[in-house]
Symmetry: C2
Subunit: 334 residues, 2 copies
């Protein structure tokens, strides 16, 4: 492991060296690459492409679910499990902070204290305020960098803030939705929104009263869905008590087996749908950026903004005109 980080002066010239540093396990080089990708620094994307092309692909497990389900404790217990087996493990913690609450930013400092001095654990928090599209791609990038840096298992944890979690979870190979016993009517709402992305449903805090009943309710729900659509199954229901470690080893081993199994069948289909959404989101992000350059470069284009601001044009027809201009080649190299 080298202590040097990539030189700032010639990012493209040093791309190969930077990639090598990351592959050699240089944590500073890896951290700097993740940040450079977030900031869209010139050259950073080429480094990632090189790493992705010949680097090891990490197994990425998304851990999502409502606030209070114990996701952080569960991830902590999973990390402890892998470390006990001598496996290196990465954690990407994503906090799509609410503009109202200010968001409980999961700083690297306050998280994972237990593993803070362990060179076999790499924790990285992402908290890009607001830019959900940006968060999902930042999470993909961070997981890929961690994989290339020698952390073959990466847990991708979200904070349960809502739709953003679903988007971010789409980055994972496998998504576990964590919930707690006693959902009651919430099983119905869980069904509506979350089952689409879940490969595993985890009933955490399994020592609480009603845990078994919740497991059975979820299993019944999953079985019911299986009758309706064979593309969305199988979804496994598992029970853990993260605070004591109960059920954590079984869960971690199930993840491993499921990633293997996910090479085909419904899980592969689900992964393909997630990749499609991720690709399209990234495309929308890029198109927005290029259109913004076009708007800013040409004062005449400002007329479109003004007409929308004055309610003389509806934003959709104005956007279609702008996109047509972009498509006609009236473009600025992005």
């Amino acid at each position: 492991m080298t202590a040097s980080s990539a030189p700032d002066s010639h990012p493209s010239a040093s791309a190969e060296g930077w990639a090598r540093q990351v592959r050699d396990g240089d944590r500073r080089a890896a951290s700097r690459l993740i940040r450079a990708l977030e900031d869209d620094e010139p050259g950073a994307r080429a480094v990632l492409s090189a790493l992705v092309k010949d680097g090891a692909r990490p197994r990425v497990i998304g851990i999502t679910g409502p606030a209070g389900a114990g996701k952080s404790t569960l991830v902590d217990a999973l990390v402890a499990f892998h470390r006990a087996r001598g496996e290196k493990v990465g954690v990407v913690a994503v906090d799509p902070s609410s503009p109202f609450s200010g968001g409980a930013v999961l700083g690297d400092r306050i998280r994972m204290q237990r593993h803070a001095t362990d060179a076999g654990v790499f924790v990285r928090s992402l908290a890009t305020r607001g830019a959900v599209g940006g968060l999902a791609r930042a999470a993909w990038d961070a997981a890929a960098v961690l994989g290339a840096a020698g952390f073959p298992i990466v847990y991708l944890e979200t904070t349960g803030a809502g739709q953003a979690d679903v988007d971010v979870a789409a980055v994972a190979d496998l998504v576990a939705v964590v919930c707690v016993p006693g959902l009651g009517d919430d099983v119905q709402t869980l069904k509506a929104g979350i089952l689409e992305i879940a490969d595993v449903l985890v009933v955490n805090k399994g020592d609480r009263e009603g845990a078994e009943r919740t497991v059975h309710e979820l299993e019944a729900m999953v079985a019911l869905r299986h009758g309706v659509s064979s593309t969305t199954d199988p979804v496994f229901v598992m029970k853990t008590t993260a605070s004591t470690g109960e059920g954590v080893a079984a869960l971690a081993e199930a993840f491993g087996g499921l990633v293997q199994a996910a090479a085909e069948g419904p899980a592969a289909l689900r992964r393909g749908l997630r990749a499609r959404a991720l690709l399209l989101d990234a495309l929308a992000f890029e198109a927005r950026k290029r259109a913004a350059l076009l708007l800013d470069a040409d004062p005449q284009r400002g007329g479109l903004v003004a007409s929308v601001a004055a309610r003389d044009r509806d934003p959709v027809s104005a956007a279609r005109e702008l996109l047509d201009r972009l498509l006609r080649g009236d473009t600025i190299s992005g």
Copy 2:
């Protein structure tokens, strides 16, 4: 007011008739147009464009802020104020429902019971699950239709779920952020996320202890910001007690005055920035849609999705390739 709705068979041929029905105040035609715009039905956009071109532009006031601030009660009181003056008023209630909570969908049925039989009030709920970009444009469209249908004042209320509210509020001419007394440390977080979009800060539940102090804290914060950046001010701080109606008339009148004043100065700048963001969001939405058509039409393109799913390609570089193909004219008419 006619009871007939637009024929389904020849939407483009009936565009003029449909627009006329809306302008004549036909509520069913207006509701149907809002739904058709949400569903992107062929022809609906042309009807809206016609209405926008020669119809009256509504004054749209965004009411946003954290859950529990009393936004619905405040909107209800504002509606009562306008009705007492004989003014017709529309309400667009937006619920970017959380996939975890299932979202407290603000059904037209359960809201605004007080005004349910009043022909001078038009309430419309939008709850497009997940599609935030879609919600903002749907809100813009709904407000424009209500304006054309003879409701010159439209309140656009969001549920305080987070970033989505900020995006949706961008549709308004003027944004009021509602909060409650005793924010304490939250003033700092409010500052960070919300002040950027607020034209008015409303301290609701003004009869609670500490209301005056919260008003003064917010005023001090606003004054401090004014020193830092002249483009983000003035932001007004007002106090209401929506449950008793106290301060509501003053607030409604302030809205009216501010919309007039907003023709120039910092408020106009803020509105321009909002329109720009709305236009770019709509563009990203369109680009995503066209790229999805491209992916679906050509099986060869599926290779991009598969390579992202297999982690052989990072989504950003794959998206750039896809966008370049789109820009090279490899397009399908959207």
